[in-house]
Point group: C2
Chain length 222, copies 2
């Protein structure tokens, strides 16, 4: 199988496993990575999903992802998870899906990063030779992998410093997950991650108000 079908996913939670399973169905080989490769959630996911589903360490999953690597670790721990991946991610595009939120004190969750910064920027600073694109962090897992679960046009916000990396992520989202080109809204460089990460608590509030995570927003203008 060509390099163009190998996806590395950092993380072993619901978002990581949901994306992993959807990408297997789309014909990709997928490795999920965690701190240790023998984590139960990883092993059982790999076992359930056949020979194209693999479990590894963060570094192994980062190495494995030749088409794309996705950061689906819990936002509060992403920097630690990514700390030693500079070599494995050099020259690669990293799609950062994580939101830096603390749910320990109830809803709405609290941001774990002060104003004037964002997880997307912190990751880009930690990995200067990697092209970080922030995206998919403004919809629930069920919408990431099935955007037409919401029949009306809705928008997905993307940002990052490298135009080619953003184009690569858009192609991935179209080809692997069924997103439409008309859904993409490019907000510019990675500093815009401050704004989409800050939006996440409103999204979670909307899930509660509308009683469904199949919720998104459409930008309309005059």
């Amino acid at each position: 199988m060509s390099d163009e079908h190998r996806i590395g996913i950092l993380g072993s939670g619901d978002v990581a496993r949901g994306l992993g399973t959807a990408l297997l169905r789309a014909g990709c080989q997928v490795m999920l990575g965690a701190r240790t490769a023998n984590k139960d959630a990883l092993l059982s996911w790999a076992e359930e999903n056949g020979i194209d589903a693999r479990a590894g360490t963060f570094a192994e999953a980062a190495e494995f992802g030749t088409e794309l690597v996705l950061n689906c670790t819990a936002g509060a721990h992403s920097l630690t998870a990514l700390a030693d991946l500079g070599d494995a991610l050099r020259g690669k595009t990293l799609l950062d899906v994580a939101n830096p939120l603390d749910f320990s004190q109830g809803m709405p969750p609290r941001p774990t990063i002060p104003g004037g910064d964002s997880l997307g920027e912190q990751i880009q600073r930690a990995l200067p030779e990697t092209q970080v694109v922030k995206g998919l962090n403004t919809v629930a897992s069920a919408v990431m992998v099935n955007p037409s679960a919401i029949p009306e046009l809705h928008h997905l916000f993307l940002c990052g410093n490298d135009a080619a990396a953003k184009a690569r992520v858009c192609a991935f989202l179209r080809q692997r997950l069924g997103w439409q080109e008309t859904s993409f809204l490019d907000l510019g460089d990675i500093t815009a991650a401050r704004t989409t990460e800050a939006y996440a608590p409103l999204l979670l509030q909307l899930f509660a108000t509308l009683q469904t995570p199949l919720t998104s927003i459409r930008v309309v203008h005059g």
Copy 2:
């Protein structure tokens, strides 16, 4: 003129004056209030807008507003502006339009209140005998006063602890500013102000990306 047409607006900036002028056109009497009643922006606004337009202090505007009082002060200074208004606002509904943002370090602006709190909640705590409703803070001034400037359905988020006060604000928005009932999305109690205030930087980013402040969002779901 009956009490039902008297609106007090705290603030003298663009949002305050824009709302004031629109409310005069809707047949209201309006008093704009600032720290001192002889502020140039207030006096010239009152002079330009005829006998139903008045200028006063914060306390005088709060006292004047029998139908509704709106907080349109700059979010970073709202608590100071409202500090001594407990008596003038007792038993009244206060529509809090302000966003606690610091624009001094460029775009996107930084929140001035740490996670786990909001300006709406701070104001409600400071004025326990006033019914605080957070709203209109998720659209630009030009949309507040002319929601149909965006032809498609778009949503306005409201929250507050008192259901009757929220209904009163909805009636005001319909009757005075032309909002449609279908636009209103009640997010629950005043803690939800954390989520709509946190959304404001994304809104400002969208203005820049789409190059128009006539921008809003429509919530869509599966």
